[in-house]
């Protein structure tokens, strides 16, 4: 029998502006250009008012519908922004290439999640797929077989609505959920887990991706179109060695990644976390040989999964060149100058 109570207290944060909490969030995070579009607020909003689409986070009819409950503020990772950077603490650093799955590089994200599913650590994980125009779509993965779908793997450089889908996954998941996300999404989840116990119980495995920046789909689409990318033939997008490479069935278009600066969202400009420091493990292609992925295992949970993978021999291991990761991490750290003064004091010296 679960202990239940008839009377309980909930701590609520203090308002910066004497208005509804949503307006506080809108003024201080979204309009000030801090919002990273991680959608944690959209996930938690009890009236499902906050919408996260291919534009800025918004709550169109907040004046009528907002119940002023403060949760959006409580979960927002940029409300009291605590910028993190570098590689962070880790237990193990490996480079791997999955024998089972095919992906952008080593398909290690897929491999880790598949192994976690097999271990029974989680019974559901959220992956991002794409349609013909490379719009992102969130898929609920419940079995390893589903992961063989090629549309689920590969990098999509536009925002995905992963977090709002957690709400649906929560209702039906029994063992736990595994999530893959960018560093800002990982931060959002961690803050969510700190505030609400059910998320602590349900979200078991969080995978962070190495990330420099992410784009709004419509902007990226228009940009690439202008560059001559034919989306019907596009099979892979990648950023390596300062170049954006769009591989199509018959040709390849590449250009310096700096050209994309014009469409980088504001939220990414203030982000200095390259390796998703708060995640259970982070994965990226940087720092290992082509065809391999670098995996930074940070927590015991992820370590268990890695042990499982090693036991079953699903992965060929390779060499990690940590300097390359550090170099890129430091490169991203240069954005510190964009962070407003008041948050810089949080930063560790």
């Amino acid at each position: 029998m679960i202990e239940s109570t008839l009377e309980w207290d909930v701590r609520i944060p203090e308002k910066k502006i004497e208005e509804k909490y949503w307006l506080n969030l809108k003024k201080r995070v979204i309009e000030s250009g801090l919002c990273s579009h991680c959608s944690t607020c959209s996930l938690i909003c009890p009236v499902d008012g906050i919408i996260s689409e291919d534009r800025e986070i918004d709550f169109p009819d907040w004046e009528e519908r907002c119940v002023d409950c403060s949760v959006c503020v409580r979960v927002c990772p940029r409300w009291d922004y605590n910028p993190l950077s570098d590689i962070g603490d880790y237990i193990e650093l490996v480079a791997g290439k999955s024998r089972r799955f095919r992906g952008q590089d080593g398909a290690m994200v897929t491999e880790f999640m598949a192994s976690a599913l097999e271990m029974g650590l989680i019974d559901r994980t959220l992956f991002v797929g794409r349609d013909e125009e490379w719009r992102t779509e969130v898929y609920h993965i419940r079995s390893v077989e589903q992961l063989f779908d090629i549309k689920l793997t590969g990098t999509k450089y536009s925002f995905a609505n992963v977090l709002p889908e957690i709400k649906r996954a929560m209702r039906t998941s029994e063992k736990g959920i595994g999530i893959v996300g960018t560093p800002c999404m990982v931060s959002g989840i961690r803050k969510l887990q700190k505030e609400f116990s059910i998320f602590r119980k349900k979200i078991r495995l969080v995978c962070g991706l190495f990330c420099t920046e992410n784009f709004y789909h419509h902007q990226l689409y228009a940009f690439l179109k202008e560059k001559g990318v034919d989306f019907s033939k596009l099979i892979k997008t990648d950023i390596t060695r300062g170049k954006f490479i769009a591989t199509m069935t018959d040709s390849e278009i590449s250009f310096p990644v700096k050209e994309l600066n014009s469409i980088v969202p504001h939220g990414c400009e203030v982000c200095i976390d390259f390796t998703a420091v708060e995640s259970d493990f982070s994965v990226g292609s940087v720092g290992s040989d082509p065809g391999y992925s670098t995996v930074v295992v940070r927590t015991e949970v992820a370590k268990d999964v890695l042990e499982y993978i090693k036991q079953n021999g699903h992965v060929d291991f390779g060499k990690v060149i940590i300097e390359v990761v550090e170099k890129l991490s430091n490169l991203k750290k240069k954005r510190t100058k964009n962070i407003p003064e008041e948050y810089r004091k949080h930063m560790k010296e």
């Binding site: 239940s4 008839l6 059910i198």
Partner: protein, 241 residues
């Protein structure tokens, strides 16, 4: 296994079969086994469990919406009444008389009657608002006899000169006390949706300094389960008590 064998009847058999058929006809013409009932003047006796027109007692209703949720035909609409409670109203144009709603009602607020012959002028008329469900509909009763089918080797029509009571006494459901309670207060959003959804004002929210206090009044709670359904993080549960 039974084997059925049929031969084509020959001449003699054929004549016998013809005569059999004709004699059966004559027998029925002389002494018919009529089972027809002259309906408006007579009425068939119906068992008390007959699924007919549905009556509603607002005092027993706890506004739990269960009748509306379970209706397979989407015929029940919950409407807000003057006392801010939601009461069911039935669209008889859609109702299929499965009485899932009656069987779902935890407080016996809905109950069945034997009324099955109500006439409506048009489709709009068939929508039966709550106030019309409290009292039985006006039906003109021409019947003087009640006919009951008795089965005693043959169908016997027992005609009694009395009017069958169309609104039977229904034994009310034994109500079990349930109330809502929170089993994971750590995850509460303090959004107050449970407070606004409660039809009985059993949940209250009070703002303290930097804190909000939520309280469920177990005595006022009727156990309707709406807050349980509405809670965005699903941390409420009905507890027997």
């Amino acid at each position: 296994m039974i084997k059925i064998k049929v031969r084509k009847p020959d001449m003699v058999e054929n004549i016998k079969l013809h005569l059999d058929a004709l004699l059966t006809g004559v027998k029925e013409a002389v002494k018919p086994g009529t089972i027809t009932i002259e309906y408006p003047r007579e009425r068939r006796w119906l068992p008390d469990s007959f699924r007919g027109y549905i009556l509603f007692t607002p005092e027993n209703c706890i506004s739990c919406f269960q009748c509306s949720f379970v209706c397979p035909a989407n015929a029940i609409l919950m409407k807000k009444s003057e006392n801010n409670r939601y009461y069911p109203s039935i669209d008889y144009a859609k109702c299929i008389f499965c009485h899932f709603c009656v069987d779902s009602c935890p407080g016996s607020a809905l109950r069945q009657t034997k009324i099955h012959d109500v006439v409506y002028i048009d489709l709009d008329e068939m929508f039966c608002p709550t106030e019309n469900m409290i009292n039985p509909p006006e039906i003109v009763r021409e019947d003087e006899y009640t006919v009951e089918y008795l089965m005693d080797l043959d169908i016997i029509l027992k005609r009694v000169k009395e009017r069958d009571d169309l609104i039977p006494e229904v034994k009310p459901v034994e109500i079990i006390k349930e109330y809502s309670s929170c089993y994971e207060p750590d995850s509460c959003l303090a959004c107050g949706i449970c407070v606004s959804s409660c039809p009985n004002e059993a949940i209250s929210i009070t703002s303290l300094d930097g804190e909000k206090r939520l309280k469920i009044d177990a005595d006022r709670c009727t156990g309707c389960g709406i807050c349980v359904k509405e809670c965005p993080v699903q941390i409420l549960k009905l507890v027997k008590g």
